[in-house]
Symmetry: C2
Subunit: 408 residues, 2 copies
């Protein structure tokens, strides 16, 4: 059995979540890639082997210590000794990206960093690969979940910035020191990376102008609501006059219908605009520990398997054709007493439980509109057949499934 | 100079758009990959060389003839003779996918098919690569732009299905024979492919239950509007009870706030749910010719370059720090005559043109809320400085950028 050795730098929130994920998924990954991933060691600031020892027994290094020093030195050493590197370090990439990418090219190894921007939203891969052929005009992003949560909360409750921040801290969406988030600096680092990939131009964090959300007042959000504008902390990278590039982060009102206007709470989203494709938008939960860890694991697996392979279908889930669904039910019925009773009786006979019912119209416009709780589709179909046969029906019954909110 | 030879099968809407794109982007692709892509030949049903001759002088085959025969035979031959293949043929993959993927694995070549599902929305790549490490619970998709356009139109205007279909045909969003689209069969083929990738289980088109939108009535959409439910033709693939898999396509009401509820017009979107990542949603224009061609080109480029490489920064766009923006402007002013005149004068001095203005409140609550047309940010900042110095101001002026709708 071949082993793929992963050396881990850092064991904070993301690092420990990654170590857990890797162990949980080792079996699945082995079936897909033919290689069994194993943690060859963990190095933190306070414990673990020396870095050279860890490097010696690793095929790939996952860098999750953050900051510039010693992260930069470690990543460079790993690349120069022929190891793939996966990192989620946006500060490092937005300040020393060119040096690191050059080292990766020179030593013919992979440097992946999906986790550095927008958590599990795969914007890095899409820019590097799917859109490699497109000329990109503009990138708009909500790339900081903390500030998006705060602005959503201010808009929802009318509370002040300080109160929304306190709520974000209480829920774990903001750190004890939220400076990097609320000033826009965290988003600026991410936009430097996105702009580099989208426009193939070196962009340093220092070249990104940024403003935060500290000065947003509740009545700005009131105004936004009145005009149906979304107020977001938006990162932009935009081609200007053909040869110019503007990269910035600032609060902005978005016109109604902008793909980012409906992105609420601690979510991240990125819209990429290009004449050839009009626009693509990707959204998902921002960079919490589990999400970033999942993005890092995706990168590790990508480094293990050949590109674009569709592995054999290892699962053999049985195909199920009778599932539980909720339904909307539209019945054109006779306008006479006892109609609802008859319909209800038939539904009860097939275990269909009614969630809501509205009687509408009169005489030859009389209708029953119902929504029923989830039920096996076969049972519902049987009820429909029986209802269709009732003399009170003026037309065949109509039903449409209802997809309800689920968690998990 | 090394050449990368692309043999093209099919020269319809997508095929000809692809040939044009490839030529337009050949220079850029060469700079990125070090290889110059060239069309080595085009084969259609009515003209061109024989397939073996085309194969002989191609490194990669792009299959855009559609249908099963001779597409299946051509793709198999290409893979078996060591050529990469890029295809957008959803019928082929949903009926003969396992055979083709096995041939690709066996001969160690790439079979890419981003264009087969959701146009330029990179759902295939994300399922195959970014989420390779995630256990997926559910996939929901709007994967047919024609039906989504029709349902949007019915909801917007209250018109009947037949009228909305006619409008879709007039605008080029529906074909002369729309059967595959409106019956849900097109979406079913795409869901078979997505389910195979998400759940690692072979899924044949015949195993996907589907219903169309032909029987949707205007009053169903009226009901949806009343309850703020979106009505969409939804593809689902869902794990059931651990070892089961249900794959289907049907019209469904979506609860308000569902990520797909706000996807309107000829757009496609896919939401992938997994406990580890909660959910990721991707959206973009559906499969028009240019979008599919762009997805196909992305696949071709991916087959040319090593994975996860960040190419040297070939562009050197100059970083622009003074750009044009539209602004919202919030001024707490004295409640006295001539205030608006003074502010307007200062704005005019800096070429800031007012789009809308509202006077609000009285006495010590008096405010001017304005939106101004796009203007160089430096000019706007100068106006802000001057306004801040006016004696009529009760507090420093506040400004927030406004992102307006753009086309292109």
């Amino acid at each position: 059995m071949s082993v793929f050795r992963v050396g881990l730098l850092g064991h904070g929130t993301v690092g420990s979540a990654f170590a857990r994920l890797l162990e949980e998924h080792a079996g699945r990954i082995e079936r897909t890639t033919g290689l069994r991933p194993e943690l060859s060691g963990v190095l933190t600031r306070s414990r673990g082997d020396s870095f050279p020892e860890l490097l010696e027994r690793s095929d790939l290094i996952v860098e999750l210590i953050g900051g510039l020093d010693p992260a930069r030195e470690y990543v460079l050493q790993a690349l120069r000794t022929g190891r793939h590197v996966v990192t989620a370090n946006k500060q490092l990439l937005s300040q020393h990206g060119e040096e690191l990418w050059e080292a990766a090219r020179e030593h013919d190894v992979q440097l992946r960093f999906e986790g550095a921007v927008a958590g599990v939203v795969p914007v890095i891969r899409v820019l590097q690969e799917s859109l490699a052929g497109a000329v990109i005009d503009r990138v708009h992003g909500i790339v900081n979940g903390t500030t998006n949560f705060i602005l959503t909360e201010m808009g929802r409750t009318g509370c002040a910035f300080a109160d929304a921040l306190a709520e974000a801290q209480r829920l774990g969406y903001a750190e004890a020191d939220p400076t990097d988030d609320v000033t826009g600096r965290d988003a600026a680092a991410k936009m430097a990376i996105l702009a580099r990939l989208a426009f193939e131009t070196p962009v340093h964090l220092d070249q990104v102008r940024y403003e935060g959300i500290e000065r947003i007042q509740p009545d700005d959000l009131e105004y936004a609501r009145e005009l149906e504008l979304g107020l977001k902390l938006i990162g932009t990278a935009e081609r200007i006059d053909g040869d110019g590039l503007a990269v910035g982060v600032y609060p902005a009102f978005l016109y109604p219908g902008h793909p980012l206007a409906s992105v609420n709470g601690p979510f991240n989203a990125v819209t990429i605009e290009s004449e050839a494709i009009t626009e693509v938008t990707m959204s998902g939960p921002g960079a919490g520990g589990p999400q970033t860890a999942s993005a890092v694991l995706g990168d590790v697996i990508s480094a293990m398997i050949p590109p674009a392979s569709t592995p054999p279908a290892l699962e053999r889930l049985r195909i199920v054709s009778d599932v539980r669904s909720s339904f909307y039910l539209h019945l054109e019925v006779a306008d006479e007493p006892g109609v609802l009773a008859q319909v209800s009786q038939v539904l009860a006979l097939q275990d269909v439980s009614v969630k809501s019912v509205v009687q509408k119209g009169m005489r030859d416009q009389a209708r029953l509109v119902m929504v029923v709780h989830p039920v096996l589709e076969s049972r519902f179909a049987a009820a429909m057949d029986m209802i269709a046969g009732l003399p009170i029906m003026r037309a065949p019954p109509r039903a449409i499934r209802v997809i309800e909110e689920q968690f998990g």
